[in-house]
Symmetry: C2
Subunit: 321 residues, 2 copies
């Protein structure tokens, strides 16, 4: 069964007030680090460096309250931030959550968000260590992830791809875009296509893949947030290289093809420009690191090609357009 | 002259698009750390721990676009976050900025915010190292500050005040509340009262005061964000102590008295419950650290008193009420 829809009843945050709402968040996502002016993080490894990233999720723009649940939005908010930390080759350690919510927001919405955040943090051995809560016209979440980059190897920067390196990926590409299209279509989705919906509502990311890739010789890395061609295109531009993808390695699988037929959409569109999978995309000198598969080669050219031809789809997500 | 009002003309973020808006922010607040999936911070001192805090500012709630400028809002956003870092005895090192803005927002608003953020970061030898930009119904900023806590002394926690210690403060208390009241009154404010307006629009905080206090024997610390009695009340409750303030030490000064007479308001209200000064309030075993003054004593009682009597004003800021 697909879980969908935000709670619309029960006491609201305006009714219970700020203190009770914060208490609800802290009960759902407890941490003994939380509660002071600022959170002091545990020592990770000696001389590790802090890594930080923020993402904002706006109701009606980044999530549709009719198509998901607060719990799933919370899980997704953490994964998309932790994917950015993993994409540096670092270990996610803590999250901060700032929420702006209309006074009419049911407390159950905030509680579900916090539970989803806690569940995902837990999976990464991380904690929700602080944040802020305020009234506003629209539900807006801002999640900050803090990670720890240990050891002496360089971080996995966007400008570190070199010709001759292998392009690798961890996780499924195109599933989130297909899931969104299925939700938007309003059709009754056959159960075997539910993994596509799941991937959109709350994408999965195996903890530690970025750290493993860094120790195994990866050079550049990013996450598939705005679309495969778009995101690899940033690595290509920053590194001054070309990236040629193998059409066999990234070809839509059976589920994507079935969803494509059902909706009358070319599933390559989801693979090449869907985004929001928050899977890891990188380059490496050696073999594909554990959990990664080879999807292409770094070349002396420029931009992203598929079998040396321009990709059929490439537009990525834009906030204002 | 008082600077007030947000720009309302010129190209909008919807017109110039996401990329140009981000470029504008990065030109106003440049950092070579910015621009990857996540920012990797420089090593501070060996084995220093990361300290993190987030605050959200909502247009019409935390700032009134008629009464301030984007530049001042940017400065204030940094000071209120860095004050939380200083209140741990840590050094602010970096900031992240997530913005949600209506497409009709003039680009000049975003540029002013970024310039104000850059100016304040600069003062603290910190940098804007990352963030996010998205469309939304309302202008919402979420600022995260990352700091560095070096050395072996404990952080300045809210629960570390002990009876017999001195209560100390750095910076002016009540000025922000008075400035807000002057702005809200709509009267023409005499020039000599402008420091009160300035303190509300963009409060000042001398960099390094928290670090100095920690090295000089301070125990607990917080910043005056929600009101003197409210914020010290949190230290008192968490530490299981009472705090008795000296009425002489915190008495309204000449400017506050003059503003009070002008508006027919008891200036003690601003001192005791105004908040938003983002000055540092702490407790210490020794003398007042450099830059701090003594304003009271930690007692074996409970709650906050003024000369052993309940304070006349004590309500602090609440998000939902």
């Amino acid at each position: 069964m697909i879980s969908m829809g935000f709670p619309t009843t029960g006491p609201t945050v305006g009714e219970v007030g700020e203190r009770a709402t914060i208490d609800t968040i802290m009960a759902a996502a407890p941490s003994h680090i939380n509660g002071d002016d600022a959170a002091v993080l545990h020592h990770a490894s000696p001389n590790s460096r802090a890594v930080a990233t923020s993402d904002m999720l706006v109701e009606g723009r980044h999530f549709n309250p009719a198509w998901t649940t607060p719990y799933q939005v919370g899980r997704k908010a953490i994964v998309q931030n932790f994917a950015d930390v993993e994409a540096m080759g670092a270990r996610p350690q803590a999250a901060l959550l700032a929420i702006s919510a209309p006074e009419s927001t049911p407390l159950a919405v905030i509680e579900g968000l916090a539970q989803g955040i806690a569940a995902r943090c837990d999976q990464f051995a991380a904690e929700l260590v602080g944040g802020d809560l305020t009234a506003g016209q629209q539900l807006v979440l801002s999640v900050t992830a803090i990670g720890s980059l240990g050891g002496n190897l360089p971080e996995l920067a966007l400008d570190a791809a070199r010709p001759g390196q292998r392009v690798v990926a961890h996780g499924r590409i195109g599933y989130s875009g297909a899931g969104l299209a299925l939700l938007a279509s309003g059709i009754k989705v056959p159960e075997r296509l539910h993994p596509l919906i799941d991937a959109h509502q709350a994408p999965e990311l195996t903890p530690g893949r970025g750290v493993i890739a860094r120790s195994a010789g990866a050079t550049a890395m990013t996450d598939n947030s705005d679309g495969l061609v778009h995101d690899l295109g940033i690595i290509a531009r920053r590194s001054g290289v070309g990236i040629d993808l193998s059409p066999v390695a990234i070809a839509p699988d059976a589920l994507l093809k079935e969803a494509g037929e059902l909706l009358g959409v070319d599933p390559w569109q989801w693979v090449l420009s869907g985004g929001e999978d928050h899977t890891l995309l990188g380059t490496t000198n050696g073999k594909a690191p554990s959990g990664f598969r080879s999807i292409g080669q770094v070349t002396k050219g420029q931009g992203v090609t598929v079998d040396n031809r321009p990709p059929t789809y490439k537009k990525g997500w834009q906030s204002f357009s």
